[in-house]
C-alpha cells in the first residue's frame, strides 16, 4: 500500500466478512422457518431472526464502506489518514455496539430491550430496518460523524479528486439521511413517508454515489485507464442515479395514504432508475476492455464486472418489474419485493464491497495479488454465490407470481396462509439455493487462507 495509515482498513474488512457470515447463517434459519414454521421456536422467533439478518447486513456494509473509505481516501488524497488512532478506536466502539445490539436482539425480549434503552423517551424502534435501540442509533450517529470528520480532514489536507469528493458526498448523505430515523410521529402515514427518507434515499440515492466511487477507484487501479475518462463517467452515472432516484422515492408512496399523484411521479421516475445501473455495467466492461495493463488480481476484476451486471439485474431489472403503479398494485408487499430486495442488495452493495476488499486485502497483506490458487478459489466463490443468488431470486419471483395470483388476482382470492402452503415448494427451492450461497461464502472465506506464489504483473 502507498500510505501506512491505510492499514486501518484491514480490521474493518475482517469484521465485515465475519458479520456477513452471521447474516447468511440467519438467512438460512429464516429460509427454513418459511417451510418448517416452528423451527427454533420459541427461542428465536422469525421476527427476531429477520431483524438479525437485515441488521447484520446493514452493519457489515457500513463496516465495508468505512474500511473502503479508510483505504481509498488517503491513496486518492495522496496523504496519510488524518488520525489512524481515531479510526482504530471507532472500529472497536462500532464493533462493540453492533455486537451488543445483536446479542440484545437474541437474548433480551424486544419489549424489555426497548424500555431499557430509552424507547419510552423517544420511540424509534420497531420499524423495518430501523429496529435498533435508541442508544445504538445515537452510537451510529456519533461513530459516523467522527468517521466523517477523520476522512474529511484527510481529503482537505490532500488532493481533492473526483472519486474522493463523490465518496464523501455519499457518506455525508448517508449520515444526514439517517437522522430521519429519529423522527417517528404517531401519524402512520407521516411515519412511513419519512421512513423512506432513510431507506430509499440511502439505497437508491446516496449509497449509489458510494458504490460508483468505489467501483471507479478499483477500475482505475486494475485497468490503468486514464483518470479523466473514468471521472467523467463517474459524474454521468451519479447524475443519472440522483436525477431518477430522488423523485423515484415516489414509488413507495403509492398505497400508504399519500396523494394519488405519486403514482405518476413514482412510476415515471423509478422506471428510469435502471439507467444509472445500466450505465455502471457499460462503464465497467468498457474500462476493462480498454485496459492498459493486465492486473495480476484477476479476481478483483471479476468482482468489478460482476457488480455491474448483478446490480443492473437486481436493482434495475427486478426493480422495474414491479415499479409501475398498476403492476405494483398487485405485487406490493409480496414475495416479488423479497426477490428484488435480495438480488439488489447482493448485486449492488455486497458485491461492490467485496470488489474493493478483493482488490485491497492482498495489498494490505503485503502483495499485489493473491496466489493463483487462492484467486481460483475466490473466483469459484464468486460464481457459486452469484448463481445461487440468481436462483434465490428466481424462486422467490416464482413464489411471488403465484402468491399474487392466488391471493389478489384470481376470482376467488385465497387467505394468506393458505396461499403460503400452496407455494411451499418454491420456498424449499429457495432454501436449497441459500445453502448453495452459504457454500460459496465458505469458499470465499477459505480463499483468504490459501497460500502460494504471488502472480506477476504483465503489460497488456
Amino acid at each position: 500500500m502507498k500510505y501506512k495509515s491505510q492499514a486501518v482498513a484491514m480490521p474493518y474488512f475482517i469484521a465485515a466478512i465475519g458479520l456477513f457470515v452471521g447474516q447468511i447463517l440467519f438467512g438460512l434459519v429464516l429460509g427454513l422457518q418459511y417451510v418448517v414454521g416452528d423451527f427454533l421456536f420459541p427461542s428465536i422467533p422469525f421476527n427476531i431472526a429477520r431483524m438479525v439478518h437485515t441488521n447484520l447486513l446493514i452493519v457489515w456494509l457500513l463496516f465495508g464502506f468505512m474500511g473502503s473509505a479508510y483505504y481509498l481516501v488517503p491513496e486518492e488524497a495522496e496523504t496519510e489518514l488524518y488520525s489512524p488512532k481515531l479510526a482504530l478506536g471507532l472500529f472497536w466502539i462500532f464493533l462493540a455496539a453492533g455486537a451488543l445490539t445483536i446479542l440484545g436482539y437474541l437474548f433480551v425480549d424486544y419489549n424489555t430491550l426497548a424500555s431499557a434503552t430509552g424507547n419510552d423517551i423517544l420511540a424509534t424502534m420497531g420499524r423495518e430496518f430501523l429496529e435498533q435501540p435508541l442508544l445504538t442509533k445515537i452510537g451510529i450517529v456519533v461513530v459516523a460523524l467522527a468517521f466523517l470528520f477523520n476522512i474529511s480532514m484527510t481529503m482537505l489536507k490532500g488532493r481533492k479528486t473526483v472519486i474522493n469528493i463523490v465518496l464523501l458526498l455519499g457518506l455525508w448523505g448517508l449520515a444526514v439521511f439517517f437522522l430521519f430515523s429519529f423522527y417517528n410521529p404517531t401519524n402512520l402515514v407521516m411515519d412511513k413517508f419519512y421512513w423512506w427518507w432513510v431507506v430509499h434515499l440511502w439505497v437508491e440515492g446516496v449509497w449509489e454515489l458510494i458504490m460508483a466511487a468505489l467501483l471507479a477507484f478499483v477500475l482505475i487501479k486494475v485497468t490503468g485507464v486514464d483518470r479523466e475518462v473514468i471521472e467523467k463517467w463517474l459524474y454521468v452515472i451519479i447524475t443519472l442515479a440522483l436525477v431518477t432516484g430522488i423523485i423515484g422515492t415516489g414509488h413507495h408512496y403509492f398505497w400508504i395514504g399519500t396523494p394519488a399523484y405519486w403514482q405518476w411521479w413514482g412510476s415515471i421516475f423509478s422506471a428510469l432508475e435502471p439507467i444509472p445501473f445500466f450505465a455502471m455495467t457499460v462503464f465497467a466492461f468498457n474500462m476493462v476492455n480498454r485496459r492498459r495493463r493486465e492486473h495480476p488480481n484477476r479476481a478483483a476484476v471479476l468482482w468489478a464486472l460482476g457488480t455491474g451486471v448483478m446490480a443492473f439485474l437486481g436493482a434495475g431489472v427486478w426493480g422495474f418489474l414491479h415499479t409501475l403503479a398498476p403492476v405494483n398494485y398487485y405485487t406490493h408487499g409480496s414475495q416479488i419485493t423479497a426477490a428484488h430486495g435480495h438480488m439488489a442488495f447482493y448485486g449492488a452493495y455486497v458485491m461492490v464491497v467485496i470488489t474493493i476488499m478483493s482488490y485491497a486485502m492482498p495489498i494490505l497483506r503485503g502483495r499485489q495479488a493473491n496466489s493463483n490458487k487462492a484467486q481460483v478459489i475466490e473466483m469459484w466463490s464468486f460464481w457459486i454465490m452469484t448463481i445461487s443468488m440468481v436462483f434465490i431470486t428466481l424462486f422467490l419471483t416464482g413464489a411471488g407470481i403465484l402468491q399474487v395470483w392466488l391471493q389478489r388476482v384470481s376470482e376467488d382470492p385465497m387467505p394468506f396462509m393458505m396461499v403460503q402452503d400452496q407455494i411451499a415448494l418454491f420456498y424449499w427451492m429457495r432454501l436449497w439455493s441459500g445453502v448453495g450461497f452459504a457454500v460459496g461464502l465458505v469458499l470465499y472465506v477459505v480463499s483468504f487462507f490459501i497460500k502460494g506464489k504471488e502472480p506477476e504483473a504483465v503489460a497488456a
Binding site: N47, A123, R127, W255, G257, P259, Q263, H332, R408
Partner: protein, 141 residues
C-alpha cells in the same frame, strides 16, 4: 464519450441536476404534507391509537407482518385486518398464540394486558381507515 463533453460539464450537470430534483422533491413533499389531512385519517388519532402504535412497535410486529404492504412477508397483511376479522377476533387470536401445531409458523405470546390489546385494536382500526387508493386489491390483503 467524446472530447466535446468535458469533465467540468459533467460535474455541472451533476450538481445542477441534483439540486433541481432535490428541490422538486421538497416541493412535492410540501404539497403532500398540505394534502395529507384529507387521506391520512389523522382525525381518528386518539391517545389509544398512539399507545397502540407503541405496542405495535415494541413487539416488532413488522418483523413478520406487513402493514400497508411494508414489513416482512411471513405473516398476513394487517393494514386491513380490522375489516377482515373485527376487534374481538384480533384480541382472541393474539391471546391464543402460539398455536404449537407442529411444523406450522408460530406467533409468539406477547402477554399483552387488556388495555394494550384494546389500544392495539384501536391502532389497527385507525390504520384500516387510511385512504390507501383502494390497496390492497381485496380483503385478503
Amino acid at each position: 464519450m467524446s472530447g466535446t463533453f468535458t469533465k467540468a460539464m459533467a460535474r455541472n450537470v451533476f450538481y445542477g441536476g441534483t439540486v433541481f430534483f432535490f428541490l422538486l422533491f421538497i416541493a412535492l413533499t410540501f404539497d403532500t404534507m398540505q394534502g395529507l389531512p384529507k387521506s391520512d385519517n389523522r382525525a381518528a388519532i386518539t391517545p389509544a391509537v398512539a399507545a397502540g402504535k407503541h405496542v405495535w412497535e415494541t413487539r416488532n410486529c413488522l418483523g413478520c407482518h406487513t402493514l400497508l404492504g411494508e414489513g416482512a412477508y411471513y405473516a398476513p397483511e394487517l393494514g386491513n385486518v380490522y375489516k377482515r376479522r373485527g376487534p374481538e377476533f384480533i384480541k382472541a387470536w393474539i391471546q391464543s398464540m402460539p398455536s404449537n401445531t407442529p411444523g406450522r409458523r408460530q406467533m409468539p405470546q406477547f402477554n399483552l394486558t387488556d388495555k394494550e390489546l384494546d389500544d392495539l385494536v384501536e391502532f389497527l382500526k385507525y390504520t384500516s381507515e387510511i385512504n390507501t387508493q383502494n390497496w390492497p386489491p381485496n380483503i385478503e390483503g
